[in-house]
Symmetry: D2
Subunit: 370 residues, 4 copies
Amino acid sequence: MKTIGVGLIGTGYMGKCHALAWNGVKAVFGDTPRPRLVHLADVPGERAARQAAAFGFEKATEDWRALVADPDVDVVSITTPNALHAEMAIAALDAGKHVWCEKPMATTLADAARMQEAAARAGTVAALGYNYIQNPMIRHVEALLARGAIGRVNHVRFEMDEDFMADPDGAFFWKNEASSGYGALDDFAVHPLSLIHTLFGPLAKVFCHMDRPYEDRPVPGGGRRAVETFDIASVLFTLACGASGTLCVNRAAWGRKGRIAMQIFGTRGSILFDQERMNELQLFTTDGRADEQGYRTILAAPEHAPYGNFLPAPGHGLGFNDLKTIECRELLNAIEGRPARIVDFARGLEIERAVHAMARAHETGGWVEL
Amino acid sequence: MKTIGVGLIGTGYMGKCHALAWNGVKAVFGDTPRPRLVHLADVPGERAARQAAAFGFEKATEDWRALVADPDVDVVSITTPNALHAEMAIAALDAGKHVWCEKPMATTLADAARMQEAAARAGTVAALGYNYIQNPMIRHVEALLARGAIGRVNHVRFEMDEDFMADPDGAFFWKNEASSGYGALDDFAVHPLSLIHTLFGPLAKVFCHMDRPYEDRPVPGGGRRAVETFDIASVLFTLACGASGTLCVNRAAWGRKGRIAMQIFGTRGSILFDQERMNELQLFTTDGRADEQGYRTILAAPEHAPYGNFLPAPGHGLGFNDLKTIECRELLNAIEGRPARIVDFARGLEIERAVHAMARAHETGGWVEL
Amino acid sequence: MKTIGVGLIGTGYMGKCHALAWNGVKAVFGDTPRPRLVHLADVPGERAARQAAAFGFEKATEDWRALVADPDVDVVSITTPNALHAEMAIAALDAGKHVWCEKPMATTLADAARMQEAAARAGTVAALGYNYIQNPMIRHVEALLARGAIGRVNHVRFEMDEDFMADPDGAFFWKNEASSGYGALDDFAVHPLSLIHTLFGPLAKVFCHMDRPYEDRPVPGGGRRAVETFDIASVLFTLACGASGTLCVNRAAWGRKGRIAMQIFGTRGSILFDQERMNELQLFTTDGRADEQGYRTILAAPEHAPYGNFLPAPGHGLGFNDLKTIECRELLNAIEGRPARIVDFARGLEIERAVHAMARAHETGGWVEL
Amino acid sequence: MKTIGVGLIGTGYMGKCHALAWNGVKAVFGDTPRPRLVHLADVPGERAARQAAAFGFEKATEDWRALVADPDVDVVSITTPNALHAEMAIAALDAGKHVWCEKPMATTLADAARMQEAAARAGTVAALGYNYIQNPMIRHVEALLARGAIGRVNHVRFEMDEDFMADPDGAFFWKNEASSGYGALDDFAVHPLSLIHTLFGPLAKVFCHMDRPYEDRPVPGGGRRAVETFDIASVLFTLACGASGTLCVNRAAWGRKGRIAMQIFGTRGSILFDQERMNELQLFTTDGRADEQGYRTILAAPEHAPYGNFLPAPGHGLGFNDLKTIECRELLNAIEGRPARIVDFARGLEIERAVHAMARAHETGGWVEL
């Protein structure tokens, strides 16, 4: 059986998520090469060894460059802090590896551009971890739009909110530092942007306002430090396709845990979705009798590929980690030269450009064209 | 028993709504003067006579000035098309009557200002029909904010959407003409603005983008005519109290029927509400154990005044028309010199100013201060 | 204009509800006779006088027999405690009046039968206050069933739950006494039974289990007294039409405030409804593509008569009291000899018989035929 | 590292589910032995070979007895049709293996009893695949009950509904044959029973009514055949703990896809859950101010173990297959001699006895004691 050698750098939240995907993808889909879990890198080395054992990798190292140099490794999962993505991804691409890098691409636009250049140079597959687009319900949205179920789209609204930074007494940490980026804009907005790009194509122009719910935060040891990033961002935009829309993100939104809400309005209907209920989709169309119209709640089912690869029964539900398994399969499709649904570095760069345009709009107080 | 003489001008949607309020307010609240339904005006006179009979008014006329001059009339309900509000309200105020005028105040800012001047001059009560603020659940939001249930508010999001203009094949009509105003901004946005003003106070600055889902519409008899108003408006704003927010309105939003959704985020919790489920409120607080936190759905109940005046049992539900009955009682409170919860002409003028500032922001592509 | 003289006995929860209906019905529907609010009875006389003033009745009395004898009274609203219904209704019917009596009919089956005999004898209209069947959404369920939207019904589930008797520390009161009836069975079950009868016709056989969540309750002044009624009842049944079903009621169900939930399963779809969201209906049908099927939430709208008599805009919502206004209009329709949707005393007696059959099933531990 | 040898019999719906669990359990939990996927059995042998390759098993066979005899196999997953469970489980137990058998235990009570005897004889771990009890939200229900969050439970309602047998035109198949069991009772009711047993302990007595929505079904090739099983069952019961309840199951319920709904009423609150939204729980308590009470929707989070083993972020959601991974870990805990949350064969037999008692109640029309 055909196999593919896997290297994994980083074993935190997303590292484990990648590991689960690599462990499960073959059993779920059947038609992929068999992943051979070759090499795992993390620091310190003792952690690498422990995680390699748990995740089923053959070798462990604290030197990620050794992993990149390993001839048995065909594809490298990069799940380290954002500031490290560029160096690692470029090294892996230059070594002729395929790369599967978590979002966002990098902490500067220049780095993201260099990553895209390396990918173009390497000619291997370079994919980003925008897994929300892999949800069968999101694919179904795409199918509905393609078949004109709600007509031509004229307006959309996107929101992404969580509350892990909502506590005013939470200590100052790296996400409050300007070096980590703008804040909610690059931390959150890139996710809805991956959905917007996938469903509607590129943005045309943006306006943006960012806000800080808390001016400063306590520093461990005493005193307070001024917060440098913006936990809230609100964006108005128009799309190249002609529709207009809004994008609101807030990582200090008490009560929201994993909300990514979308409202899509068309000439013949509308679609609603919220990631907190990721196995549901709401569809309104003008078909049929007026007295029977209403939003219908469609539950995820085998009719919505690739749900059926996980479960033959409808309404039983996929989980967040399953999205990463689907993404892993799409990556393998791309590597195999089959049609694949991924956000590659080229599209990823467009998303980064949009984020930076939004930040510029905030600063200038006017529209910024893309 | 103390009575108050009522005149009603206009008998359409809102005219009937006022009539129902005048018929029911005494039975619901008990402590008000008894409304004496004196005079009703509409055109043609035959319609006025028919509606007077149905609504229980003593006299009918097609001359609204006769109604305004009627010495038995103490308070005048004005429910005619927006363009007529100013003339009628000013005449009634100048005649020493109390005035209860439907929103929006007028079709121009100048007219609204003249109305406010007439009210100041008259010294009688001049109230606007912003009935959504009368919902017991909205009052409860106000109480929650006042008692600090969610801490200091730092961000809010408001939406108002319906679909009565969503059909691209709908014929061109007066709401598509520039003479009717900007479109969704004055037609819809004033409602959430009444809530924002009531709950959080005045706006500080606004940015706005308006959009047309349909460039033109069929004209009865053939041909098409360019649409002059904007059915969609999206607004970013900051409040004088320091919080930021968004306001999105769309009267071409398929599937939405009476949605007025709000999300209020504070330092210790958040509140959600949607007028389509007007008897429910969702509250999240950081009180208690982390593993038991979640949005709680509070059903309208006698604890939420003045629900108990309508029903002694919780969860049984008020309707849209009941809000107007509450508003009518508040108007009577004001007339009686008691504390009252109304949007008077002074506050109404502030709302109008905000709408015009938004339109200017749309035109200039920059922030507009208020 | 044609008028009809109204007498009202009782001014509590339902008395006020009737008063509001009599005050509003003409303004809402236009096509009814004008109610003339003639006579109101309550004890003591001072309360009667105060309520007559508030509700707009001409005369007040503490002697309900005087009201029944009043020649200006054409129809008598009876909203007194259940034990008084029989005597008052029979007296009014014997005096040639129309009667509008709150549910349940009486506290004994014999009394209910006597009431029905009096109604048959009088030939006037005798209607019961089962207002939930008047909800436009329930009418729409009926229309959906009639047009075969979900095929032939084979199974139904009904629940009615509130929590006003859920507190174990609540003092013993009259609803805990056997003289008040069985408990949840006659207090609550009659409401879903009115819906079952209206939508599906009569029951064929029943099985029942009743339960007491609390064996005794504190008595004001000290000590505890054994609870004699059952706050919980669970019923299995079959219908004459062939379908089977369940009926569960609980007036000690913490968190439930006005829940009347129904699930209707047919050969081609299903329908869900919950009175706590009385302006919504959920419909699932097998029409259309499998990947687009789902429960659709239909919001109350002018398409669902007689919603449009209250509001021209969809999704704005009726309230509980509006159902009584609709019921009042149906009563007037019946009096006018027009087709009417009411639960008359004959059908009411069937509902009472079903309740007593359930109690017998509980006692015998076996099925009871109807 | 410690390993455990795994054999898997059957590779359909549940077979794949077990395979995914065995592939992922170590990476998710870290603290388990490493599963070594030794042997897979299915028929025909070619399918076994293909699935072994996909699922990552070393050996494939079409002779399940060879798998049972394999000394490298320590634990046997049995996911074959129900009628085969007894023979395979007993053989595996007699060979000294641990057994993980899908529900229900067997198609006859005698077989289930023999399985339990074999397990007692073997002294190895014998667990059943009742994975719904593994949901972190269900565990949280258990924790809430244990800490008295809703007081003493006095009434419960359970429902389980799907629609895969709702189509009246669906062809007659093995689930319509009496040899497959009673129908919805053993197919569905065992799942809620596993929850009831876990949360509240054993039943005391039951009453039951079963129903057929469709009397006959088309036979491939022409003609129709009488349906022998019951797709609907409705049960009243009392629990040994003193509470009463209802259990309703329907596998012909159009629109329901994976509904397992529970309502738990206690002296101080209530809890709601529906498997179709398996990452949510609703809790109502009487704590706090009356005007702020309401059902709160608790989203699955790391606070609800073992959610955190899958995801560090709250509200991101587990899927159905993750429940099987949790069950797998509990099985390994039991094998390791650690505390474990499983339905073993002894408890499984109690569940089977309850089902058969329900069927007897249906036949006799009276209560049956357990």
